[in-house]
């Protein structure tokens, strides 16, 4: 084990800004990117559902 206390761990031997800056940048990216992809999927799915409903109404009107 490298660290004797949590504060020593967070201090990173004086390189805290650089090490944690890198960690946070990566963390933000790998959290945000999947959320954006999920948003994209939701958008297209809601479009598809609306399209389906519209087609159904059209069919019913033609039948009537």
């Amino acid at each position: 084990m490298n660290w004797h206390s949590p504060s020593e761990f967070f201090a990173m031997g004086g390189y805290a800004l650089y090490v944690w800056g890198s960690v946070i940048a990566c963390l933000v990216c790998v959290v945000v990117e999947p959320l954006l992809v999920r948003q994209r999927r939701r958008t297209v799915l809601s479009l598809l559902r609306r399209q389906r409903v519209a087609e159904q109404i059209e069919r019913e009107e033609q039948a009537a």
């Binding site: 031997g13 004086g14 390189y15 650089y18 999947p34 992809v37 598809l48 559902r49």
Partner: protein, 248 residues
């Protein structure tokens, strides 16, 4: 009896869509496990570096993101070539699904590199061969995304972007060999196929775990994105209309 696998079957979006949906959670889970293991080894097992103290630990993020940014570009170029040669629809979708993730890793490579350069070299940025060629890679990704967004017909966009991806692939060996070809501040390769690695075993293991995690993450997120792209482009087809997530 030898049964011949028809690989073109999987190039049909209708076949690939459910397959990608099944595979995605496996890769996502592997990414999470490998990332935790890699960070554990990197921050708790790997020893302090003799020259760079604890600052060197940026390596566990910098090297995997840099490798990934280059590798994704090569995979994109591969799918682009497949699309141009076989004219398969899925190839262009795959390339388009990889580009944002590649751009993200290129950006992270530059950001973590900056965070490493400042304490070790005394500067956030230098116009040296390695850094500049990686910045060009980032711009190539942005160019790819911009070009794709600018052409309305997705099939034509795929073709134009495929040419860009293939021409841009020339930059990858330039990045990789830049530390040998030019005098640069950037250190040489930490890992090489021909000689034994110039670092402690635990450092190497941590780095490889993180690199694998980056791979699994990229596969998982690219599969998710390609599924969204398939739905967008195939929205007028019957098979999409009959999907249970659409019918619900």
């Amino acid at each position: 009896m030898m049964t011949k696998v028809n690989w073109f079957k999987y190039s049909s979006p209708a076949t690939f869509y459910p397959l990608a949906g099944q595979a995605m959670p496996i890769f996502a889970a592997l990414a999470a496990v490998l990332c935790v293991a890699g960070l554990w080894v990197g921050f708790f097992v790997a020893p302090t570096d003799a020259q760079q103290g604890e600052g060197y630990r940026i390596i566990f993020l910098h090297v995997p993101t840099s490798w990934m940014s280059m590798f994704i570009y090569l995979v994109m170029a591969f799918w682009s070539a497949m699309g141009l040669v076989f004219n398969t629809r899925l190839s262009g979708m795959m390339a388009a699904a990889l580009a944002p993730t590649g751009a993200m890793f290129a950006a992270l490579s530059l950001i973590t590199g900056s965070f490493w350069g400042k304490p070790m070299w005394g500067t956030w940025w230098v116009w040296d061969a390695r850094l500049t060629s990686e910045l060009i890679l980032f711009f190539l990704y942005l160019g790819y995304l911009g070009l794709h967004a600018a052409i309305d017909d997705p099939r034509r966009a795929d073709k134009a972007c495929a040419v860009l991806a293939l021409v841009g692939a020339v930059n990858i060996p330039i990045i990789y060999y830049s530390v040998q070809w030019w005098n640069t501040l950037h250190q040489g390769a930490s890992v090489s196929v021909t000689r034994s690695p110039s670092m402690a075993h635990t450092m190497l293991i941590g780095m490889l775990l993180m690199a694998l995690a980056a791979w699994m993450y990229s596969i998982a997120v690219a599969l998710s994105r390609v599924r969204a792209i398939i739905l967008e482009r195939e929205r007028r087809t019957d098979w999409v209309a009959e999907l249970k997530e659409v019918a619900a």
